[in-house]
């Protein structure tokens, strides 16, 4: 954040110091006026540019920045819908959620999902890309890349309900195969111990193709001379992967890590669609918790408090990751 905020402050400071210099001068007022005129002229010259920016900035201020302030404020008061009266109750909303055991289980699940999705999201798609690189025929490679991106394109509802159909205990093909092998049919979505694993698996099944595209772009950029030199030196294919391919994509790994950490706590759709009352305790995350306990019941204070709490955690993770990977927004 420091990196983002810096130029703004700098810009203001520069203007402020300019004004100070003008004031300390003997004929300060006149010079200030000319500076003002200069600003006006500059703005008038760029009117078209400001008009073009206006809708986007207006939208972001109303729908992105205003809710942040509003959310923080809301978490400290008793929110009553249809009433403009504001009675502040201090930390009571936070106390309410901290005393709720479902909040803690949701928080624990959020961390577990975040860790595995982040780790596998980086590692598995990297592994897939490295493996894909070993396939030499361009057509096959292209076909695989295109196919495994396909689930990414579909919505979570489509993927989720397809899995619900495939793994259904009565009509699902997977269970029919199990039955043909003489096994009992298994209710996958009702099994508490494996419910988290199943959700992580489905998530990875859906998103791996996205990472593969990013990694493949980096792998294709590696010059073939490195591989040729290695082959002449008698390096086998495993060693090629470990000593040439992986070091060359280390920057991409950092980028993927950053992307994954930024989206780490925002899991909503798959949990909302695929968890049910049986597995809820093991799969509920903060976002579904907020939706279920506050928005569906119109009891918004605790929900706002929980949102602020998890957002602060998310922000800390993002900033730490940014520091560690040295990955900034250029310009």
């Amino acid at each position: 954040m420091g990196k983002v905020a810096e130029p703004v402050l700098h810009c203001f400071a520069k203007k402020g110091s300019a004004v100070c210099i003008f004031w300390s001068n003997q004929s300060g007022v006149m010079l200030l006026k000319s500076a003002k005129n200069w600003m006006l002229k500059e703005i008038r010259k760029n009117t078209a540019i400001y008009l073009m920016l206006l809708p986007a900035i207006f939208y972001l201020l109303i729908f992105c920045y205003y809710p942040i302030v509003d959310g923080i404020e809301m978490s400290f008061r008793d929110v009553v819908i249809n009433s403009s009266e504001k009675n502040y109750i201090g930390w009571e909303n936070y106390q309410t959620i901290f005393q709720d055991k479902y909040f803690w289980s949701a928080l624990r699940n959020t961390f577990i999902f975040a860790f595995w999705n982040c780790f596998l999201g980086v590692a598995l798609s990297g592994l897939c890309a490295v493996m894909l690189n070993e396939i030499r025929r361009p057509f096959t490679r292209r076909f695989i890349q295109t196919s495994i991106y396909l689930p990414n394109l579909l919505s979570w509802v489509v993927v989720g309900s397809s899995f619900m159909f495939m793994l259904s205990p009565t009509v699902g093909p997977v269970n029919q195969i199990l039955q043909m092998c003489g096994q009992e049919s298994f209710y996958f979505f009702g099994d508490i111990p494996s419910s988290r694993f199943l959700l992580i698996f489905i998530n990875q099944w859906k998103i791996t193709g996205y990472g593969v595209i990013i990694y493949m772009a980096a792998i294709i950029g590696i010059s073939s001379e490195q591989y040729e030199a290695a082959i002449i030196d008698g390096v086998n294919r495993f060693q090629q992967i470990v000593y040439i391919t992986i070091p060359n994509i280390s920057n991409t790994i950092k980028v993927m890590l950053m992307l994954n950490i930024m989206g780490m706590f925002q899991l909503f759709d798959p949990i909302y669609i695929l968890s049910n009352r049986i597995t809820q305790n093991n799969t509920d995350v903060i976002m579904t918790y907020v939706y279920r306990t506050s928005l569906a019941k119109i009891d918004l204070g605790p929900g706002a408090a929980a949102s602020v709490f998890i957002s602060i955690i998310a922000l800390i993770f993002t900033l730490v990751a940014k520091k560690m990977t040295k990955f900034g927004f250029e310009e």
Binding site: V4, P7, V8, C11, M39, E42, N46, A48, Y50, M52, L53, P55, A56, I57, Y59, L60, I62, Y66, P67, I68, D70, G71, M74, I81, M131, I135, I144, S147, I148, Y149, L154, W156, V157, V158, S161, S162, M164, F165, V171, P173, Q179, Y210, I214, I231, V235, N236, T252, V255, M258, M262, Q266, D269, V290, Y291, L300, A304, S307, T318, F327, F329
Partner: protein, 300 residues
Amino acid sequence: MIRKQKKYTLIKKTWGGFVLDFVIRLFFFLYIFSIFWMFWQLVVTSISPELENNSVQIRFWPNEVTLGAYAEIWTRSGLNVAFFNNVYITVVGTAAHVFICTLAGYALSKPRFPLKQFFLNLIIFSMLVPSQMIMVPTFILYRNLSLINNLNALVVSGMVSGFSIIVMRNYFLGIPASLWESAKIDGATEMKIFFKIYIPVSIPGFATIIMLQMVGKWNTFFEAVLFINSPEKQPLQTKLNMIINSITTMAQSGQSSYVNLFGQNVKSAAIIIAMIPLLVAYPFMQKYLVKGILVGAVKG
């Protein structure tokens, strides 16, 4: 020279390499098989009559082809209304998004004007805002703007994204400045330069954000769950979710007549209707989607 080649061929044909090739091919075969098997099972189930689906036999080919499930889901469950709702939010939402983001991207590609860095930071920082932080206040805000149970809520949400602005800005930065200068010398205004010169030459950049936004809008789910309650205003994804869930609960409570009404074949037909537009469009937009993903990865 001969020796080197011999070495090369020797390395190519080791047992380790053979095993590696085999494992890699098996892995990708299983992955792709799981995807296509799923689609194929959905298709087969949706075009089979209902009774067949309850038999234990697993089928890779339908014994009897009927399109009854599609007719039923289209007319009787309200999926047609949801489908056209979705078309509306996709078309209008994408058009508004592209218009606003392109204007902002063009403005930010200008070399210098007062407060440029401030606006740029405002846009970049908006990409870092966690969506859960603003879930509750956004709900209140939309309620105050009377956008609850209003399809326009889904058009408005996500109408501006920092990502698209940055993509368009980078595209415009890549256009040589001499084009702008020559138009300026000929006496064109800023707006005229934008609409007559910059837009026609940046069609590929447009295609990227249009495709990404269209896919996103077609798959709108979270916003619909938040803002839309009434059945006739549902977009496709929430409607599909309702259809799937209504079937399972009714099957559990043992109402056999309802099970017949929304059987597994009808359910599969609904899933296929929801994904067919994207599958049809995928070959055409694949190139642009890949480009968009790569830009996103570079820019964060």
